[in-house]
């Protein structure tokens, strides 16, 4: 059963919640100014598969209204997962119009939220498609159990950047192939190797200081998750 925490977005008080779009506008303008100064344009796409980068903040979530993800062609239903703020290679995360490297969690594309050109801070929804497994469900009744299970699930993630393409065109088979390739190249677990203090138990490291660190967020829908993700990114960015 779902354990919904009665917590509003506003109650995540330390996460600043301005108009998300306006925040991104400002970030975009800054990025443009920086690009002018450096005389740089669009960075070349790095070789993929590539390591995801560093997870700076993460929270497990569960929504009351599952959604059909647009990030894979079979539109799998997402009810649970993680919100993360990733510090990635800006060239990998760069929001191009042409095909971009796809951030993957296992065989499923992550949902990158409102990427900002030139920024290496990326707000991401990591779907947990395995979340209907019995062992996950039965631990939901206690915060401790939930957190530990979430933490275990999180730390075992294969997180990596796959070949550039549109996520909506990726099939489950293509996702599986991408995972296989990433594991073969040894890049899918590199995100855990950089700074163990941050990576080994990221759910305990709620950098934005949410009310109940490490606790799974129970919110209404994807829109709330998106708002939290952007606020988290901006909060991390502001530190």
């Amino acid at each position: 059963m779902m354990h919904t925490i009665a917590i509003s977005i506003v109650a995540l008080a330390v996460l600043p919640m301005p108009d998300a779009a306006e925040q991104v506008v400002a970030a975009g303008q800054n990025a443009e100014a920086a690009a002018h100064e450096e005389g740089s344009g669009i960075p070349a796409i790095p070789t993929t598969p590539a390591a995801a980068g560093e997870v700076l903040w993460a929270r497990a979530f569960e929504v009351g209204e599952p959604w059909a993800s647009d990030f894979r062609s079979d539109h799998p239903t997402v009810q649970r997962g993680f919100i993360i703020v990733l510090k990635a290679d800006a060239a990998l995360a760069f929001p191009r119009q042409v095909a971009c490297p796809v951030l993957m969690a296992g065989d499923m594309p992550c949902e990158v939220i409102e990427p900002v050109a030139g920024s290496d801070f990326v707000a991401v929804i990591v779907p947990r498609l395995e979340a209907t497994r019995a062992e996950d469900l039965e631990t939901d009744s206690t915060t401790t159990g939930s957190t530990r299970t979430d933490a275990q699930a999180f730390t075992s993630l294969d997180l990596y950047w796959a070949t550039p393409m549109l996520p909506e065109q990726m099939t489950a088979k293509m996702g599986a192939d991408a995972l296989q390739e990433a594991r073969a190249k040894g890049v899918s677990d590199m995100w855990r190797a950089g700074e163990p203090s941050r990576a080994t138990d990221p759910l305990e490291r709620d950098l934005a200081g949410a009310a109940v660190p490490g606790q799974r967020l129970g919110v209404a829908d994807r829109a709330a998750i998106v708002a939290i993700a952007i606020a988290a990114r901006d909060a991390v960015l502001a530190r």
């Binding site: 443009e32 929001p95 119009q97 990427p115 996520p167």
Partner: protein, 721 residues
């Protein structure tokens, strides 16, 4: 078409004196335009005398009566007023003047008349009237001419043809173009050269504007329109994808005093924001449009982007009575919708239309017929031929040659915006700006300029072009603004917008795809190089005309002889658009025979063709500048007339000198439309019979100022506005 107009195409408005039979219609004895009782009465009254003679034997008798009765009830063509293209613009070379309709309000309006073609009995000097636009039955005989400037101006017509009689049409720039809430760019007017000086419409007067305005005194489309605007920074669209429900609204502040207005939907690109198009939203709202710019779901891809476009369009239509406190209640006309998308959003709007046409998406409160125009700014082409396809909807492409993102590169079909343009089968136009990059077309995107140092036009100018061109396309397709199209095809030297720097190169294509088009050669059929798509023979002198698919054959722009269409990144392997290509190092000629079905072009207005220099070809590099060419029309009597395209502007532009993708400089091929008025051919040689043409010829070479050259050619046709 002046010559044709004066000799053949008289208009039946019937100004004849009773008892004077016209040569065109002898039984119309009373000159009322009909063969009837009045004519019979006159014939009988003249029985036995020459008065009612129709046969020319000098006697009114039974033979004349039989002739009259055989045409009983017929409507006779009358001499009437004569259609004549008076308004126009001066040219840099012969024929020195060319008929066009649009003049910017801030610039001199010009008109010309050929003294050699004036009707007999004309008296010089003669008054030129500028009158309010009228049509058809409004051209009644005896109507007093009322000049909107107060008084007509007097023309002292000189001997020496049209070139000797080019005059400014005075004071039209002072007229109130906005009067009466005019939402067209310009004020439509008619010109009348009152050849008999009577001050009334009468037989033989020359009229420019019988069935549409003869000239437009136009406001500058770069500048704000007549209305103050209001912006609602955000509202929530019902039914849109979660996380993408926010939209911004722009509208004329006085919208409730206007009739329902077209709806414009702006769909941004990947990594862009809905709030980045204020400059465009407010501009269009100042011209009366209701505009939204919405959150666009571009990260997953194009399908999702198209969905948000479709959803937000439906949402604002259903929410118009409540959004903004009811400010736009009932003011959206859902039958006039324009979609504008940028980059992934630019492909998304084309895909959105495709989904409606394909039947895979059915909007609840509008349909495909309600989408009056789709505009893509530097679109991607992820989905390819079948799905990134505008089909027959009026389509506009706006694109920058220095785009560092959707680059027009030869190794990436996704980055080739012209693919979508080539797939459009209806009315279409493109504007390609040298030195403009991808994010010049929004307020705040990152710098992505990719081009030679010192060639960046910058955001300010790129957006001036953007505002003007998009407004013109919307006006044309959503308001039926007849004066808008010329902003989409005339060369900058011909229709000069002051805000555009003289050093900025803007390359335009325009294809109205009218049902009346007479295609000589579009290379789509009859792929043998010796036969045109219209079936006529094709022959060449000192050149070779190759044909092929509009695709660069490899992944580089380096010129190699095995890649005849080098630089043509306008299609995927699944696309079928074809063109021709030729080069020369001496005076060269291509001759297209016109079959009898194409002989009579007297009803058309222009010869149209699109041409582009071959990027990085050795001849293009050697020429190192705009390329001239000429077209010649040949009739069945051996008469011909030749016009140089350089007379109308700078000729075919040199490709943008961007480097990369191999050796040399020069980016993707830039096809450019040239529309030469047929009346200009007739002006050059009055003996040319436009109703009996037998050939079109293209000439290029040293005689035309280009010792060598390489041109790609397509869509050679006769058209009319």
């Amino acid at each position: 078409m002046k010559r044709r107009a004066c000799t053949q195409a008289a208009i039946a408005v019937g100004f004849f004196s009773a008892g004077i039979a016209t040569a065109a219609c002898p039984p119309d004895l009373d000159g009322d335009g009909l063969v009837g009782g009045g004519d019979l009465a006159l014939l009988l009254a003249g029985w036995g005398t020459p008065a009612g003679d129709l046969t020319g034997d000098g006697l009114t008798d039974g033979e004349d009566l039989t002739g009259l009765l055989s045409q009983w009830g017929s409507r006779c063509p009358s001499k009437g007023v004569l259609p004549y293209e008076l308004a126009g613009t001066t040219l840099l070379a012969a024929p020195w003047f060319s008929p066009v309709d649009v003049t910017l309000q801030s610039q001199p309006a010009m008109a010309a008349v050929d003294s050699d073609g004036l009707p007999e009995g004309s008296t010089w000097p003669m008054p030129l009237f500028v009158v309010a636009d009228r049509n058809g039955d409004d051209w009644k005989p005896g109507t007093p001419l009322q000049d909107v400037r107060g008084n007509p101006q007097v023309w002292n017509v000189n001997q020496g043809g049209r070139a000797a009689n080019i005059n400014e049409v005075r004071d039209v720039g002072l007229l109130d173009v906005a009067a009466g809430g005019n939402l067209m760019l310009g004020l439509g007017l008619d010109l009348v050269l009152d050849v008999d000086g009577s001050g009334t419409l009468s037989d033989g007067d020359l009229v420019d504007g019988l069935d549409r305005p003869g000239m437009f005194v136009s406001r500058n489309p770069v500048l704000a329109g007549p209305y103050a605007t209001t912006t609602l920074s955000s509202y929530t669209a019902s039914g849109a994808t979660s996380g993408f429900t926010t939209s911004r609204l722009y509208y004329p502040t006085s919208i409730q005093s206007l009739a329902p207005q077209p709806l414009i939907v702006i769909s941004h690109g990947n990594g862009h924001q809905y709030s980045w198009y204020d400059f465009l939203g407010t501009h269009l709202a100042s011209w009366g449009y209701i505009v939204i710019s919405h959150q666009n779901n571009t990260v997953p891809g194009i399908e999702t982007a198209s969905t948000t476009t479709l959803q937000h369009t439906a949402a604002i239509i259903s929410q118009m009575n409540t959004v903004a406190g009811g400010a736009i209640a009932n003011r959206i006309d859902p039958s006039r919708i324009g979609w504008i998308g940028h980059s992934r959003g630019g492909e998304g709007v084309a895909r959105a239309y495709d989904r409606i046409v394909d039947g895979t998406y059915t909007p609840t409160n509008y349909g495909a017929d309600d989408i009056g125009v789709v505009i893509s700014i530097a679109p991607t082409d992820f989905l390819g031929s079948a799905s990134a396809n505008p089909h027959g909807v009026p389509y506009m492409l706006l694109y920058g040659a220095a785009d560092g993102d959707v680059c027009g590169c030869p190794d990436n079909d996704i980055a080739d915006s012209f693919n979508l343009y080539e797939r459009a089968t209806g009315w279409r136009c493109s504007t390609y700006i040298h030195g403009a990059d991808h994010n010049d077309f929004n307020c705040c995107g990152f710098e992505d300029f990719a081009g030679p140092s010192g060639t960046a036009v910058g955001r300010t100018e790129a957006q001036e072009v953007q505002r003007a061109q998009i407004l013109a396309a919307l006006q044309s397709r959503l308001r039926g603004d007849l004066g808008a199209d010329e902003f989409l095809w005339r060369q900058d030297q011909s229709l000069k917008i002051p805000q555009f720097a003289a050093t900025t190169t803007i390359v335009r294509e325009f294809d109205p795809s009218g049902a009346a088009d007479q295609v000589v050669e579009d290379f789509q059929t009859n792929t043998a190089t010796t036969q045109s798509s219209s079936g006529g023979a094709v022959s060449v002198v000192n050149t070779y005309l190759g044909e092929g698919i509009l695709q660069d054959a490899n992944t580089a722009f380096t010129w190699v002889s095995s890649d005849a269409f080098n630089g043509q990144v306008r299609g995927r392997t699944t696309d079928t658009q074809r063109a021709g290509v030729f080069s020369w190092a001496d005076d060269a000629l291509i001759h297209w025979e016109l079959l009898p079905a194409l002989a009579d072009q007297s009803g058309q207005s222009h010869l149209s063709v699109r041409l582009g220099q071959g990027p990085r070809h050795t001849y293009t590099v050697t020429l190192a500048g705009p390329c001239n060419a000429a077209f010649r029309l040949v009739d069945a009597n051996g008469q011909s007339s030749t016009l140089s395209i350089a007379a109308y502007g700078e000729g075919v532009q040199r490709p943008y000198l961007r480097t990369g993708y191999g050796t040399g400089a020069g980016w993707q091929s830039e096809m450019e439309v040239f529309r030469v008025p047929l009346s200009d051919f007739a002006e050059q040689n009055p003996a040319l019979d436009l109703s009996a043409l037998v050939a079109v010829e293209l000439l290029a070479g040293p005689s035309l100022g280009a010792n060598v050259g390489r041109l790609q050619i397509d869509d050679l046709l006769f058209t009319r506005p």
